[in-house]
Amino acid sequence: MPPTSSPSDHPAAASGTPSGQLPGPPTGKVLACIDQSPYAQAVCDFAAWSAERMTAPLSFLHVLDATSGNVQGDRNLSGAIGLGAREDLLEKLATLDEERARLAMEQGRQLLAGAVERARAMAPDLEGATKRIEVRQRHGELVDALLALESETRMLVLGKRGSSSAAEHGHLGRHLEQVIRSVAKPILVAQQSFAAPKRIMFAFDGSATARKGLEMLAGSPLFRGIPCHLVYVGADKPEARAALADAAGTLEAAGFEAPVALVPGNPDDALPRYQAEHGIDLLVMGAFGHSRIRHLILGSTTTAMLRRFTVSVMVLR
């Protein structure tokens, strides 16, 4: 899906009024992607916390990606092929894959079982309210797995990096950008540690995307009751002030405490600075939909933000 189209069918966005008396919230699960990375525990905690706040079913996903990495097995460089070479080779490779897949699946199941236990401990009432905590395993690429489950997903939780990306390899996991671009659901990108957010901030730029994201935030029970700073980066102009006041009104009507701030500079520096100064522990932002061409030239603001922030980030689509 091109990033420019933002298919938000959220009732709050559709009606244009803050929530409260709106028809029921979107259905679907909180889907948490678990792997062997150090982020898995925080992902699990965030997912359990979110599911509990939204009274949504919780689903843990583990993706078995067999395509990456070196080919294993004993190396045969003899280069000789005899009778039945293809059949023998197929049999051998299939056996190898079978063993590896079994092992990976077993490891994944253990990870998932651990996650479920952790979630139960964190949110003891969740299972009763939503029937059950579900676990899923899929083969293939993470993005494909998420797209296959998209229709039943309400919100996605994943770590900033997966186990296949070494810490020094880059600041973001190799799947993350692709996931944000392809999956049209709110995505919570977790850092390595979890604490229930006490103060969150919303990066507001007055754009239509930001307004939609704001309405989504106001309409959702996820962060309700947590003070939400509205931060506008740019020159101090009357229009900006007006837009901010309007946005604060939206949030306050939904029961949020919403201090506003107008900070100069460019978003890359100003937002992290504001976050550090005010002890904010979660950033909410719209996935800034650029055209594909602009994206190729400038890179995505969203991923730049993800890279800069040391707190967890919620990306709204």
């Binding site: 460089l77 092929i81 059949e87």
Partner: protein, 494 residues
């Protein structure tokens, strides 16, 4: 978005580089042998192997597959080379590439679904037999000497014996090195690669084929180019399927068609002959641990460097040593399983497979073999499906009215059986033909129904047809199941 370089090229660095080297060493004798088959200098096959392997590494749609100069293609160009010379071959190679690119652009790779498994097996076996037959001239006639047989036998012993001792070195390479050394030191009087024509003495250079750009030239090369394009794509698609199965991954067929085309254009411009994917080499690549695009690139580059810089040694390789390697390739390509399955598989599949092999071996043209195989599969299928036709009937108590209920598939093969299901000699007042559980697939079927109605009328019966609309829904060629997901179910349910 473009997947990262790491994911497409360097995810299996060690395996790809090692496998690429093994493949390069195995490619050299093959490329030389196929040049000999085509009747051109070894350098034509070697330049082709280099450019095709390297270009498909970048442009192909099936990572892990090795493409280069092949026997299937070489066999098709023999007459062209003999009658018109090398330059026309290069022009035909160029045109082949263009045709293949067009095939990719128009997504003809999807046509491969008409090629059944039996045809694929037949193709592969025929290819193996052709490669083997092409080695015979080196061992018959004036070459039929004990020394030659001895060298071939020694080669085969090394190739198949050495892997029992060590799998760390490619045994075909050891075979060639040992036999070449023996031939030099012991002064064997056997034909060598150098006797077959020029070897590459430099890196390939860009050359436009030296042919007149006239309609006459096109008339000469076009039929060859079409055959080459078809056979090249067939073998490439089949090899891609084999690699898909071996690695449990999928390939991009349309991209592969375009890639093969671009590779042939490149080969033609660099003085190489037309080529395609190679079953044997691809199996060797996978077996040696190659999975990514890198292995084909390494194979091409290593091959060229070896040949250019070791040219004078390559020239000393006895042809008999190459024959041993090629016999290995033909044995490895042959589907041994297909012989064992000959008894257990349905007879029709075995007939399709055997006919494909027979036609290819007789005509030396793999495209003809596949054509015959595909036609036979279609006929056998039509015959089988035509049997799914049942006509039941019941007579009313007064004996004046009969209801026929037709269920099953009515089309050109079953139309006659359809007519035989009616008893036209029975004297009736009214006849009801209920076709709502039948499918009329073509106008032959509708014609048969008309005929039945007219016959009954001529015998004085009034005919009532039931459910014709449902039955003939299948007639419409534009019947678009993909537009309506439940259309197929509706069709099969009624």
């Amino acid at each position: 978005m473009l997947p990262s370089l790491r994911d497409t090229w360097f995810f299996n660095l060690r395996g790809d580089v090692l496998a690429g080297v093994v493949v390069a060493l195995a490619l050299i004798p093959e490329a030389i042998a196929f040049s000999v088959i085509a009747g051109v200098d070894p350098k034509v096959g070697l330049y082709a192997a280099f450019s095709i392997a390297v270009i498909t590494a970048f442009a192909g749609g099936r990572p892990g597959m090795i493409s280069a100069a092949t026997g299937a293609m070489a066999l098709l160009m023999v007459v062209l080379v003999r009658e018109h010379g090398l330059e026309y071959l290069l022009a035909a190679t160029l045109l082949t590439g263009v045709l293949q690119v067009l095939a990719g652009v128009f997504r003809l790779g999807a046509l491969m679904r008409f090629v059944s498994r039996s045809v694929v097996t037949g193709f592969v076996n025929a290819l193996a037999i052709l490669i083997f037959l092409a080695q015979l001239p080196e061992m018959t006639g004036e070459n039929a000497r004990l020394l030659v047989f001895g060298v071939v036998a020694a080669g085969l012993i090394i190739i198949y014996g050495l892997p029992r001792l060590t799998k760390a070195v490619p045994s075909p390479l050891v075979c060639i090195v040992v036999l070449t050394a023996a031939a030099i030191f012991l002064g064997f009087d056997v034909r060598t690669v150098g006797d077959m024509g020029a070897l590459p003495d430099s890196l390939p250079i860009f050359l436009w084929p030296d042919v007149p750009l006239t309609l006459e030239t096109l008339q000469i090369i076009f039929p060859y180019a079409v055959m080459l394009a078809v056979v090249g794509l067939l073998e490439s698609m089949m090899t891609a399927t084999i690699v898909d199965d071996l690695t449990d991954t999928s390939s991009d067929r349309d991209r592969e068609c375009v890639g093969q085309g671009v590779a042939n254009v490149g080969s033609g411009l660099l003085g190489g002959m037309a080529g395609c994917a190679m079953i044997g080499q691809s199996v060797i690549n996978i077996k040696s641990g190659g999975r990514g695009r890198l292995s084909a690139l390494v194979a091409g580059v290593v091959l060229l460097l070896m040949v250019v810089f070791l040219g004078e040694w390559v020239a000393q390789i006895p042809m008999a040593a190459l024959v041993a390697v090629m016999i290995m390739v033909s044995i490895g390509t042959f589907s041994w399983e297909s012989l064992r399955n000959l008894r257990t598989n349905p007879k029709s599949s075995s007939v399709v497979m055997a006919s494909t092999v027979a036609v290819v071996v007789v005509t030396h043209n793999l495209a003809l073999g596949v054509l015959v195989g595909v036609l036979l599969s279609a006929l056998f299928f039509a015959r089988k499906v035509g049997r799914f036709l049942v006509i039941r009937s019941e007579l009313s108590d007064d004996g004046l009215h009969r209801t026929y209920r037709v269920s099953g598939q009515v089309f050109f093969t079953s139309a006659e059986a359809f007519l035989e299901g009616f008893d036209f000699k029975e004297a009736l007042q009214t006849v009801t033909i209920d076709v709502s559980r039948a499918h009329f697939w073509d106008i032959t079927a509708v014609g048969a129904l008309d005929k039945a109605v007219i016959k009954f009328r001529r015998e004085g019966a009034r005919v009532e047809l039931l459910g014709l609309n449902e039955a003939s829904a299948t007639m419409v060629d534009r019947y678009a199941i993909h537009d309506k997901p439940d259309a197929a179910e509706q069709l099969l349910a009624h």
